[in-house]
């Protein structure tokens, strides 16, 4: 009994402490926004160097993925500096750790803009972190370059979406599954905005295309207990699993999947958030033969990619793979550089105006910025995990697909918002 009352009181102490710190940080945010109208938040581009913000989770459950993005950003900055910088100014990268925690992302974004006066920020991975920083970038009118595929249904005047939107990844993936005759799907995802929205889109697609959804399950982000979900998947009679799990929950999921005797042959899993780096750390033995949907693989042919892979491995180690979000992060810095140079200025309004039609011969192939939606044209690619841990392309869309974040081009998507 005594133990109980102690823990209750302890809980209360904890809660009030959390409440107090929340109140304090709210005050901080308030004073921050007061200075926003003043010159305090304006990017400082007067000196020989220009600061750029790198905002990634360097710790926590998302670090497994985001550290590689951070490395790719640093590589692009280094290369640009070696080639003379942007408008004659060297870039100075300022790294902030979002720590896999969305309020922390917002806090660090504000610090980058108001304290460091960065000209642009590159980063974020989860949609939850992007949604958390979106109002910050909009309030201070500062640009964010977001490098990861996401659930679409969003546009922001101050965010450039360099990763795929749904019609460049999820819709082609569904088309592919349908073509293979895998029409009964089971949806497994992390419990936050990207998987839930993605699954809403998948359900709408399935309804219009005669596919059947056998079940839908979510696990909390960072969860490592998947035995029940795997049992449900096994019993559901599905043809394939559509996996929108993020971060290292995938480790636990695929370990459990193999333990339950399920394989890529008996019940394939198509994942949209597992790239080469994750394959390597989850363990190739758990993933061999499984499918992924992205716009870029380390094995994507082309001179630009050969150069990118060589440069990355020279900087971070021969055994380090490159992946889609890394590539998108890497080209996002180059796209920003081209926009700034076309505009002849770091001023955000001029950069935005110059963005439409910016083209780059990227490692993934040709990409073009669509100024209206601030997304890019990208080629969709389905791949299969090989025994060496690399992903081999099994299908591609042939040409870059125009970004359609609100899926206006699809009649079945009319009810989504």
């Amino acid at each position: 009994m005594s133990g109980l009352s102690i823990s209750r009181r302890g809980l209360l102490t904890g809660i009030s402490a959390v409440g107090a710190s929340a109140a304090l940080s709210a005050c901080g945010a308030k004073t921050g926004s007061d200075t926003s109208s003043a010159a305090g938040a304006k990017a400082d581009t007067s000196g020989d160097t220009v600061k750029v913000g790198l905002l990634n989770s360097l710790s926590g459950t998302m670090a497994i993925s985001e550290v590689t993005v951070h490395n790719a950003l640093l590589l692009a900055v280094k290369e640009i500096n070696a080639a003379g910088g942007v408008l004659g100014k060297k870039l100075k990268p300022i790294s902030q750790d979002g720590a896999s925690d969305w309020p922390t992302f917002a806090e660090k974004a504000e610090a980058l803009i108001t304290d460091d006066k960065v000209a642009a920020t590159f980063g974020c991975w989860t949609s939850a972190s992007r949604k958390a920083v979106k109002p910050v970038f909009e309030r201070y009118k500062s640009p964010l370059f977001y490098p990861v595929q996401y659930e679409g249904l969003e546009e922001s005047p101050y965010i450039f979406y360099i990763g795929a939107t749904t019609n460049q990844q999820i819709v082609p993936a569904l088309d592919y599954l349908k073509k293979q005759g895998l029409t009964k799907l089971y949806l497994v995802g992390s419990d936050y905005v990207f998987p839930r929205t993605a699954n809403k889109i998948i359900r709408a697609y399935a309804k219009a295309n005669g596919m059947e959804i056998k079940g839908e399950d979510y696990a909390p982000l960072g969860s490592t207990e998947f035995s029940t979900i795997v049992n449900k998947v096994k019993d559901a009679g599905a043809d394939a699993v559509f996996n929108t799990l993020n971060g290292d929950s995938n480790v636990a999921f695929f370990k459990e999947y193999k333990s339950a005797g399920l394989t890529a042959k008996s019940l394939p899993v198509l994942s949209v958030s597992i790239a080469e780096e994750e394959v390597k750390s989850i363990g190739t033995q758990y993933l061999e033969g499984q499918l992924t949907a992205w716009n870029y693989y380390q094995t994507t042919p082309g001179a630009a990619n050969t150069k990118f892979v060589a440069a990355y491995q020279a900087a971070y180690g021969k055994d380090k793979p490159t992946s889609d979000p890394m590539e998108a992060a890497y080209i996002s810095v180059y796209l920003w550089k081209d926009m700034v140079e076309k505009a002849g200025s770091f001023d955000i309004a001029k950069v935005k105006a110059a963005s439409d039609g910016i083209e780059l011969d990227a490692p993934e192939g040709k990409v073009t910025v669509d100024g209206a939606s601030q997304h890019v044209y990208k080629t969709a690619r389905i791949g299969r995990v090989g025994a060496d841990g690399l992903i081999e392309e099994v299908w591609n869309s042939g040409k870059p697909i125009k970004p359609d974040p609100y899926l206006k081009g699809y009649s079945w998507a009319s009810g989504l918002s």
């Binding site: 102690i6 459950t61 909390p220 035995s227 029940t228 370990k255 750390s281 033995q285």
Partner: protein, 295 residues
């Protein structure tokens, strides 16, 4: 029928993980009244011990077997050190132990981040443990889960034997029942405390080794489990081994059955509501310790 069997096994295997983690807490929270928030970090220490061993011993099977006793020693030593440095000064102030060990837990997480890097890491399981036993008709038992179940039962058996049969166990029970009387009877209570803490923390280390078979290893992995483990101890009846064993398996089965018929989040909510209702009915938990001490 297949579903029921598979789900029951899943529930029991979740219960086994909970039990492994709660065993150490039953000793330190239950028997000594210390709210050890750093218990989760001892789990982490055990998991990282496995990781380090696998880096140096290439065979996954051998490294796992070596990791079990070594993780027990490493986590146990950390626990004994914590007891000697801080906790022994706070035995009469249980709330303070909560705050102090919470601080220690944050420091240990940061230390792990500095040593092993912020991203989580993985170990690969021995081939034997990645497969499953199929009984036909779709009934399968994952080998890794069977291993964890066996490990949990072995730890319960070992702990029971120590507490029931050895002189050390008699001394631990005496200190728990009446510290002052034990002291005047010539038992070095301080020493008993340290050994108890060593065993309790060591068991957390063993739990850490088991968890490497299930998921990733990271600085914050312990925090995922600490609340559930406290629930097991409180519901089971503070300080009662039997209560913890029954509660861990009951919660595991309840959780997995609910998860199967609803969703992960809904199952968590229902389990918590059930626990609150249960504690209203039996505030002392499933089993109560009869004690002669006045506390």
């Amino acid at each position: 029928m297949t579903v029921i069997l598979n789900q029951s096994f899943t529930g029991i295997s979740i219960g086994a993980v909970l039990l492994l983690i709660a065993l150490g807490l039953t000793l330190t929270f239950g028997q000594m009244g210390v709210i050890n928030m750093a218990h989760g970090e001892f789990i982490m220490a055990g998991a990282y011990t496995t990781y380090v061993l696998q880096k140096s011993i290439s065979s996954a099977g051998v490294s796992l077997l070596v990791a079990l006793p070594l993780a027990f020693l490493v986590a146990g030593a950390m626990g004994a050190l914590l007891e000697w440095l801080l906790i022994r000064r706070l035995y009469t102030r249980p709330l303070d132990t909560l705050l102090v060990t919470w601080g220690v837990s944050l420091m240990l997480q940061q230390l792990a981040r500095d040593i092993f890097g912020a991203p989580n890491v993985q170990t690969s399981a021995p081939d034997l443990l990645t497969g499953n036993i199929s009984l036909g008709g779709g009934i399968t038992f994952a080998n890794s889960r069977l291993f964890i179940l066996g490990l949990a039962l072995l730890c319960v058996l070992g702990l029971t034997l120590i507490l029931r049969l050895t002189p050390l166990g008699r001394r631990i029970r005496a200190v728990v029942q009446n510290r002052d009387l034990a002291e005047v009877s010539g038992i070095a209570t301080g020493q008993v405390d340290r050994i108890t803490f060593f065993i309790g923390s060591g068991l957390a280390g063993v739990a850490g080794v088991a968890l490497t078979l299930v998921g990733p290893i990271g600085p914050t992995m312990g925090t995922n489990y600490i609340v559930d483990a406290f629930l097991v101890v409180v519901v089971g009846g503070i300080g009662r081994l039997k209560g913890s064993v029954i509660t861990a398996f009951a919660l595991g089965v309840l959780q997995s059955v609910l998860e199967y018929s609803t969703t992960v989040s809904v199952a968590k909510v229902i389990v918590l509501v059930a626990i609150v209702a249960f504690l209203q009915w039996r505030p002392q938990g499933l089993y109560t310790l009869r004690t002669r001490s006045l506390a």
